[in-house]
Symmetry: C2
Subunit: 469 residues, 2 copies
């Protein structure tokens, strides 16, 4: 961990977050950072990733740490590294230094989280928490709080109250988080440009992935999620990179950076391996881009995010009617989810400390209180169903996919028999998957595209691919 003491802005931002939390709940909170999980053996672990809720209030990826928040005060619990670890890990910042940096009111060894009592009730009495992801730390949480812990998707009592308060805070980004999110977005833009430029010299998908992640790593960031770099864009979360790049293929790259304190970007572009879209690829690309642009234009405080999804659905349906793939009235087609045969996912999601922000809480963050997932084929996969408010960062990511399991499904074939022109569709066989995704900040003025420096128009994309290095 790099510790810089350039200014007090971190401490100030954290102070404000604590104050806001204190205005929403009147009981103490303890948040754990978690620990790194072994990969091959205990000394060879996956890279440590602190719990996002902990990061939000502590600002630093401290391993095996906890913070206790009460009435706007912050107590840090962290063990100093043993002297013997210096040989392996170098001089680590001391608890006292870290405490000062994050503006903690007090700092103690981890053991005191359980044992230290004050004039008031024991520290852990009636403290709320959110269960972290790693099983070992979950056990610790339960032991220290001396009660069973519900999964973070179904908290109860004060844990539920805390969860709602944290969701309300994390939904709208403050200046400090926006500064990080803008950095993640900027590096992600460069990664995509590098990917495009590397395509014509790459033999397999992995070559493009390497060029993209190299930009992220060289900025001392990490990827916010497993990169998707595939000629099989119809596989939504493909994690294979072995396919060869063929002239005529489209390459779909969904790659995003995460800053060292955990803030994410999430961007997708789809480009032709050859540097030139075929007419059929270009036609579908422009339909997806029309949906992308219209949705971004529509973003504004007060707008229902689900309406943005439905807007994308209409534009997709309309475009596919114009191309002769769908037939019928656009409103009817959307009503019967015909668009969802091709646009198989939601228009987007929240972005923040997680690429699907707060998805550890299930739908408690993504869905307005009282709302639940729709049972409709064309809506049930929507991850976000809220009224937009200033400071929210959302993705807009329309897509078109030819998923064999969906298009060859006999039920779908029957249901949509009169509405899909299957022979026309066959002409578009060289379009397996196209997605165009940007990150948009909701502001009073509308939507600000944080990733807007990365072109979306087909000719500009072609030009970037042609810049092969």
């Amino acid at each position: 961990m790099k510790i810089t003491k350039s200014d007090d802005s971190l401490a100030n931002s954290l102070h404000q977050r604590r104050q806001k939390l204190a205005s929403l709940i009147n009981f103490p909170t303890i948040l754990w950072s978690g620990r790194s999980t072994p990969r091959n053996y205990p000394a060879l672990t996956f890279p440590f990733r602190a719990s996002s809720h902990f990061l939000y209030f502590s600002g630093l990826p401290l391993e095996n740490a906890a913070i206790r928040l009460e009435s706007g005060k912050l107590e840090l619990f962290l063990d100093d590294a043993p002297a013997s670890s210096t040989l392996w890990h170098g001089e680590m910042p001391k608890r006292a230094e870290i405490a000062e940096l994050i503006g903690a009111d007090a700092a103690f060894p981890m053991a005191e989280l359980k044992s230290r009592s004050s004039s008031r009730a024991p520290l852990t009495t009636n403290a709320a928490t959110i269960a972290v992801q790693d099983a070992f730390t979950q056990l610790q949480q339960s032991q220290i709080l001396d009660r069973p812990l519900a999964p973070p998707t179904s908290p109860t009592g004060i844990d539920l109250e805390l969860t709602k308060a944290i969701v309300s805070l994390r939904l709208s980004h403050d200046a400090a988080s926006l500064a990080e999110l803008r950095q993640a977005a900027a590096v992600t833009v460069e990664a995509h440009k590098a990917g495009m430029a590397a395509t014509r010299n790459a033999q397999i998908e992995a070559g493009v992935r390497a060029a993209m992640e190299s930009v992220i790593i060289s900025e001392n960031m990490t990827y916010a999620y497993p990169s998707i770099v595939t000629v099989h864009g119809e596989v939504l979360h493909s994690e294979h990179y072995h396919n060869s790049l063929q002239t005529g293929d489209l390459l779909l790259a969904d790659v995003g950076a995460e800053t060292s304190t955990g803030w994410a970007a999430d961007v997708t572009r789809t480009w032709p391996v050859s540097g030139k879209f075929s007419p059929t690829q270009r036609a579908i690309y422009d339909v997806v881009l029309a949906a992308h642009d219209a949705c971004i234009d529509y973003i504004s405080p007060g707008v229902e995010y689900q309406d943005i999804h439905l807007l994308a659905a209409r534009i997709m349906a309309e475009g596919l009617v114009d191309l002769g793939i769908l037939r019928g009235n656009v409103e009817d087609l959307v009503e019967m989810d015909a668009h969802a045969l091709f646009f198989v996912h939601g228009i987007g999601h929240l972005i923040g400390l997680d690429v699907h922000d707060m998805e550890d809480l299930g739908d408690l963050a993504g869905y307005e209180e009282g709302r639940t997932r729709s049972s409709r084929f064309g809506l049930g996969f929507l991850r976000l169903n809220r009224v937009l408010r200033p400071g929210m960062l959302v993705s807009i990511e329309p897509g078109f996919y030819q998923v064999p399991a969906i298009l060859n499904n006999p039920e779908n074939r029957t249901k949509y028999e009169d509405f899909v022109k299957w022979e026309e569709l066959e002409k578009f066989a060289d379009v397996r998957g196209i997605r165009i995704e940007d990150d948009i900040l909701v502001s009073e003025k509308g939507g600000e595209v944080l990733t807007g420096k990365l072109p979306t128009k087909a000719p500009e994309i072609e030009e970037l691919v042609a810049l092969n290095t």
Copy 2:
């Protein structure tokens, strides 16, 4: 996972491994692969890494799978992916296809591991296992075997017998594993060359790291361990990459690739950021290289690995006496561990499916039965203490470090007062850490350096750095 059916060599190798295991133990074995661990939330995990013992006998990184081995027969337990996962992950190979590929005698859904009984006793009766690293699967192992599970470092009963048998097999690599290890070594060599060539244009350590990992990723491999790319070579396991590269700095890079089926390489080179070693850097470099070369020359079946460590210690001590840093008789200096003030770790370790192969078993693999760690300052950190035998792959990695916590330790200052010329040492202040590491296969003819295509001599290293891209 890429499944290719190009030949039967995988199935044949696995068959031979099972036969060898059956010749050593007469009870059934069940090995679990483990599952991926959540990073931010359950759908966003760290990349899956199967347990190495499972990989050794199954050959493929199958998630949430188990294999049962008995009398040379292999039964595979694996659930087919649900149809709904096709959208997200594409068409996955079916259990039957995988079973054929790895030469399984039978294949079943996971649930049958517990429930299926045969004419003989229930499948799990008296089966031995080794506990995997992830807590969730450990629990599953214990539940299915219906008994508590000791940590893999301290197995008992048939688990201990199994562990010893697997150690004996995995200690000597067969043709199939050697083919993988050679691939990992070849890609690692290229990664280091790319790192050297990228140094003069990089601003910070992360820039060199990016160039090196990019080679690994573009070959569709992963890194076998967190890359060390640092101007602070004296921090043995530094995982920071933010330091700027200054003329006059040495950059130490310890980076290794891992093939898609889990086989590792482990290579370190140290090079001058400027492309030119200073005279003091060059002098120490040549001492470390002399130790490196002599140790590799000494490798042969029947040799005690600890003697190789002591050989390195003598050469290091001798070199430091010649440079005027140490004073005294070389044998005496080694006897009193004076070399260990600078050469602060062991000469190397086993390499295989883990970069420190089988370190999940503690010292059960690294140490010959009946041997334990020395309490000597200069020997206690040795990870390998065995007689070398053909087919073993070991690292040879002598190093010189100026670790403030060791050199400024008052006890050391007193103990070595007459043997270290501290003023002379000050002249070498521009050498914080140097390590030179290669991977050597023990063969009947001696040692074969799998990573031998990467130069070690100072002028050749300088030349590679000068090839800045």
